[in-house]
Every structure is written in structure tokens, then in C-alpha cells.
């Protein structure tokens, strides 16, 4: 049994009659100790998926799923208090902007010990000195220089990298089984990014946590994750193992994302970009959601919505999945090309 099991997750906002679908048909399974990447452009539903797992989608948002379980317990059936008790202890999350994720009014020590006061061991709940010692220990684990002095610091006195380390310390304080990192390094500069990522992975290995790494940076996923799922417009378009998915992407979207990496554009004067933007509420295309932006779109793509198909663990949502050479298969012929939508 997987640690986190999600089947057919659907998150909607807005009215019952004309809902805005943020995410639909997401299947997700995470084993203990596994690092899974989740990539996609802005607006593709990565963060909403994470928020749904954390139970942070609030009214008027609605979460539905065929199965939505953590460690065998159905998350949708739990009461609010049970959910708080479970999620605070066993699932932790770190956010994109570390400075906004710390409460500006309290010191690092206060914020670290606050969680321990509720979720800590019996001894920690009873003794303030023990909690403080534990907080210091956590700061050491996340490699903050001069941790004693940082304990009394307020968030605005920390650099972005240090604030993210404090966030990680808070997240691991209760030894969670699953850590969701929502773009943990996006707000940091490149040198600090590498350190924070390395720290996250070290902690993940040492503690055997499962790590769900949400990012739009494919390079990060290539370095860290064992499996990836690629999201587009609220749907999973491809899942696969690293490094296969990078060597032979099956979905044109993954291929296009990879082609847009700076490393693959060495000799060009401009980066190869994917034209257009992720469709929103009002410009949702018929058929395959990618077809207005896809290089290989044919008439069938604009009519028929493809299902996620392929061998388990390496599926793609495409009528004409790409082969190892990056050419569409299943009888794709270029003269079928329909008029691509003008933008």
C-alpha cells in the first residue's frame, strides 16, 4: 500500500452549475521514502493538487476523489480536528516564499517550539527547555550558521535562504512521513537553491520521508526525483521514471518543455519557447487541451480528448505518443494537420 493514494482527484471552484475546474482526473501514488517530482507551467494545477492533499482547499473550493488516502486513512472522511491532528504531524509542507511563510511577529524560536508544543513528544510538550533544545537541534540539522543567535531572530532579520532553512526545520520538527515542497527554491538565488535542495534531499534520505517536489524547473527534477509527473491545465499529461522521461519524452508537451531548457538552446540566439499560455476558465479548448499549442496537432486532437495510456508507470495523455526518436507514432501523418489556432 502506498503512503499517499489519490485516485481521480478533482478540485473545483466557483458555483455548482458553472464550476471552474482547477484540477481533474489526477491519479497519484507516493511510496514511503520516494522522491516524486511534479512539473508544469504556471497555472497547470500543481499547487492546487498540493493544497488539496493538505486539506487547504477552502470553500468555495470543492475537492472530490474516488480515493484520497494517506497511510490507509481516508482524508476526505476525517473531521476537521482529526485532519489537523494527522496533517500537522505526518504531512508537512514548505512554500515558495520563505519570508512570507514565517509569521513576522514572532521569533524563530517561538515558531519552532509552537509546533512542538502541540505535536511534540510527551516530554517536549511538558518542558519548555526541552523544546528549546530541540529547536536548536533542528536549526543545526538544517545547517544554519550560528543557530543560538538565530533562535532569537525575527523573520525579517533572516536572508531568504536562511528563512527557507527555518521553514524546513519547522516542517521536519514532527518527523513527517510526507513532505510536500511547493517550489521550495524558486524565490532563492541560484547558489542558495542548490544548497537548499541538497539539504532537502539529505534530510529526505536520512529520515526516509516521501518527498513531493513541485517545481517548474525540470533540471531540479532531473537531479532529484525518481519519478515525475508532468501536469498541464489541471491534468496529468505524462508520468514516467527519471531519467527515461527526459531521454525519451512521450508527450509533445514534455518534449516542448525540455526543448525550452537553456541547456538545449546553446547555439540559438533565442530560447525555444512554447507559444501561447496555459488555457484558463474561458478559453478551454475542445479535445486535447494542448492542441492549440502542440507542434503535432492534427484534426483528431481538436475533437477527441485523449486518455492517459501506455504501460503503467510510463503513461502519456496523447493520441500519438512520441517514440524514442521524438517522432509521433500511431499512424500520425503531417498532412492531417488542422489549422492551428491563431493567436
Amino acid at each position: 500500500m502506498a503512503l499517499l493514494e489519490v485516485e481521480d482527484l478533482r478540485v473545483e471552484f466557483g458555483s455548482e452549475f458553472a464550476p471552474v475546474v482547477a484540477v481533474e482526473g489526477i491519479d497519484l501514488a507516493l511510496d514511503a521514502g520516494e522522491v516524486v517530482g511534479c512539473v508544469g507551467e504556471s497555472g497547470s494545477g500543481k499547487s492546487v493538487t498540493a493544497l488539496a492533499v493538505m486539506g487547504l482547499v477552502e470553500f468555495p473550493g470543492r475537492v472530490r476523489a474516488r480515493r484520497f488516502a494517506f497511510a490507509g486513512r481516508d482524508l476526505l472522511a476525517l473531521s476537521e480536528a482529526q485532519h489537523r491532528a494527522l496533517v500537522g504531524k505526518e504531512i508537512a509542507m514548505i512554500f515558495q516564499d520563505p519570508l512570507a511563510s514565517l509569521n513576522p511577529c514572532f521569533t524563530v524560536a517561538f515558531q519552532l517550539t509552537e509546533t512542538l508544543r502541540i505535536h511534540g513528544s510527551d516530554a517536549e510538550r511538558a518542558s519548555a527547555r526541552l523544546r528549546r533544545a530541540r529547536a536548536l537541534d533542528l536549526l543545526r540539522q538544517v545547517e544554519i550558521p550560528d543557530p543560538e543567535a538565530r533562535l532569537t531572530a525575527f523573520p525579517h532579520q533572516l536572508s531568504g535562504g536562511m528563512a527557507q532553512r527555518v521553514m524546513i526545520a519547522m516542517a521536519i520538527a514532527c518527523n513527517p512521513k510526507l513532505l510536500i515542497a511547493d517550489e521550495p527554491t524558486t524565490a532563492l538565488d541560484v547558489t542558495v537553491q542548490a544548497q537548499v535542495l541538497e539539504l532537502l534531499l539529505r534530510l529526505q534520505r536520512e529520515r526516509g520521508m516521501a518527498l513531493l517536489l513541485i517545481t517548474h524547473d525540470l533540471a531540479i527534477v532531473a537531479e532529484t526525483a525518481q519519478r515525475v509527473f508532468v501536469m498541464y491545465a489541471g491534468q496529468v499529461v505524462e508520468t514516467g521514471a527519471v531519467p527515461q522521461i527526459f531521454e525519451a519524452p512521450k508527450h509533445p508537451y514534455t518534449q516542448a518543455l525540455l526543448a525550452a531548457l537553456p541547456e538545449h538552446n546553446r547555439d540559438r540566439s533565442r530560447l525555444k519557447a512554447i507559444p501561447g499560455v496555459v488555457p484558463g476558465q474561458h478559453d478551454r479548448p475542445t479535445g486535447c487541451l494542448l492542441h492549440p499549442r502542440c507542434d503535432y496537432a492534427v484534426r483528431r486532437c481538436s475533437v477527441e480528448w485523449p486518455a492517459l495510456a501506455g504501460p503503467p508507470g510510463s503513461e502519456a495523455r496523447c493520441h500519438f505518443p512520441l517514440d524514442a526518436a521524438g517522432r509521433p507514432t500511431h499512424g500520425w501523418r503531417p498532412r492531417d494537420s488542422c489549422d492551428r489556432r491563431q493567436r
Binding site: 487547504l56 480536528a81 550558521p145
Partner: protein, 302 residues
């Protein structure tokens, strides 16, 4: 390896972290007006505490042979009554000094009532949203739509005149400002990520409202409370002047003005000095409030 890297890249500057109070004081002391306001306020508070010691005469003592004595520097004035006496021979200076107590008390109590009530209502409105918010805010809008003095008079008319009822009336008049301010601040803070991360850590709604969000909303509320202090004093004086607040012979500044109104031509000092006292007190609190706003408001900071 990672330790070496982090030691180089993260700033390892000598950690001398400035305490929040010291930082606040540095920002506050930049404005001379704010310092003046603070100085005056401290003087007024000392005046109120030591009124019994400082005042040369008891506030209710009537010196019948000295009625309407002019101030010491005018012809006919005596050193015994530096600011002169009122129509029944009471020393104006002593009454003003004792009046400080009343004015500060009125300010303190009515601001405390409306602040605590306003914060709770605003917090609930901003956090719960929906129909609860609509109900609270529309009610506050109705209260704001009435002229403040009129509303205070109406409340006093219901409760009956008197100093305590005047305080309640003023608290009710000031309430909508705090509710609106608290609600706006709560809405702005509630969407921030630290609230979410606190929610993830298992904080319940009450904890989120009062110990996560509220401390971050305090800055504008402190400023409003300081400024509200002055309007409370002003309103109390107005109610006293209309005979709805403190009743004679209480040495309340507003009622002192009202008592002496008929002598304004013959003995201008009986109205001048209570008026000046009100002016100085209100000015002191306004200056202090402005200074606090400059020091606490992150938008105006640096």
C-alpha cells in the same frame, strides 16, 4: 561538502540582532513632533497621577471672597490663584490638574472598551467572512453614517447622563473605526502563507485568529487607539459641555467650560484655560499617534 558551501554562501556576518523595541524607538525618535507628543503625554500622565500633590488647592474648595479672580499676571490677580478662580471661587489650576485624571480615564476606558470589542468583531468578520461579515460590517456602516456626537447624545439619552455612561457612549461611537481597521488588516493577513503553514501545523481557528493573525494586525490598531484617545477626550468634553457627561461639581474640562460660559465676556480666563487644556491634550495624543504610525506602519517605513 554542503556544510562548507553553506558556510561560505549564507551570510555569516557577526550576529548582532537589534531588538524590536530598540528598532521601534529609533524609528519613532526620528520625528520631533512625535517626541513632543510623547513628552506632553508623559507630563499629563504624571499630572494625573500626582494631582493631589501638585494642585495648590483642593478642586472643590470654594474661596467665596475670591470669586472670578483674574490670573496672577493680570491686574487684580493674586499669586495664590495662578490661573484665577471661577464664579464660585474655586482655583482653576487645581481643577484643571484634577481634570487631567478624568480626561485620561475617559480616554483610557472608552478606547479600551471599543478597541477590545472592535478587535474581536473585526477579527471574526475578517476571518469568517460570509454572512457574519456582512451583518457586522453593515451594522458598523449604519453607526458610521450617524454624526458621532449625535450618536453619543442618543446613547447618553438612553443610558442617562453621567460620566460612566458618557464613556460607554464614546466607546460605541469609536467602535466602527476599530472594527473596519481590524477586518481590513485581518483579510490582508489571512491570505498569507504563514497563516497556511500554521494551519498545516495543526492550528485551530481560534488559535489562528488570535495568536497567528492578530499580532500582525496590531500596528494600525495601536495607531488608531492613540488617535482615538484624543477624539474620546474631545467627545467627552463635548458631552460634558452639553451637560450630558460629567455632572457639576466634577472638575471635567468640558463641564468647566459649560459652567463658565456666561462669564466669557467678563472673565475670559474661566473658559480659556480649560479650552487650552483640551487643545494641548488632544494635540499631544495626535502627535504621538502620528509618530507611532510613522514608526509602525510598514508602508511608510524607510
Amino acid at each position: 561538502m554542503s556544510e562548507a558551501v553553506s558556510a561560505v554562501a549564507d551570510d555569516v556576518a557577526p550576529v548582532r540582532i537589534e531588538g524590536p523595541w530598540r528598532e521601534f524607538w529609533r524609528a519613532y525618535a526620528q520625528s520631533r513632533g512625535a517626541l513632543l507628543g510623547l513628552g506632553l503625554t508623559v507630563a499629563l500622565i504624571l499630572c494625573a497621577i500626582f494631582a493631589g500633590v501638585i494642585a495648590p488647592h483642593p478642586p472643590y474648595e470654594q474661596y467665596r471672597e475670591f470669586t472670578l479672580t483674574p490670573p496672577a499676571w493680570q491686574a487684580g490677580g493674586t499669586k495664590d490663584f495662578i490661573l484665577g478662580t471661577d464664579p464660585v471661587g474655586r482655583d482653576i489650576l487645581s481643577r484643571l490638574i484634577h481634570g487631567t485624571r478624568l480626561s485620561l480615564l475617559i480616554g483610557l476606558i472608552s478606547v479600551a472598551i471599543s478597541l477590545s470589542l472592535g478587535v474581536v468583531l473585526g477579527l471574526v468578520a475578517g476571518y469568517v467572512r460570509g454572512w457574519v461579515e456582512t451583518t457586522i460590517m453593515r451594522l458598523m456602516d449604519v453607526m458610521l453614517a450617524l454624526p458621532s456626537l449625535l450618536l453619543a447624545i442618543a446613547v447618553v439619552a438612553i443610558l442617562g447622563p453621567g460620566l460612566i455612561n458618557a464613556m460607554y457612549a464614546i466607546a460605541i461611537v469609536l467602535l466602527p473605526h476599530y472594527v473596519r481597521l481590524a477586518r481590513a488588516a485581518v483579510i490582508a493577513e489571512a491570505g498569507k502563507e504563514y497563516v497556511q503553514s500554521s494551519k498545516i501545523a495543526g492550528a485551530g481557528p481560534l488559535r489562528l485568529m488570535f495568536s497567528t493573525i492578530l499580532p500582525n494586525c496590531l500596528a494600525p490598531l495601536i495607531v488608531q487607539a492613540t488617535l482615538g484617545f484624543s477624539s474620546a477626550i474631545l467627545d467627552a468634553a463635548a458631552l460634558g459641555f452639553l451637560g450630558l457627561g460629567a455632572q457639576p461639581p466634577t472638575p471635567e474640562w468640558g463641564s468647566m467650560l459649560a459652567d463658565a460660559l456666561e462669564f466669557i465676556q467678563r472673565a475670559p480666563w474661566v473658559v480659556t484655560f480649560p479650552g487650552l487644556a483640551i487643545l494641548v491634550t488632544v494635540l499631544a495624543f495626535n502627535l504621538m499617534g502620528d509618530g507611532l504610525r510613522d514608526a509602525l506602519d510598514p508602508k511608510l517605513k524607510r
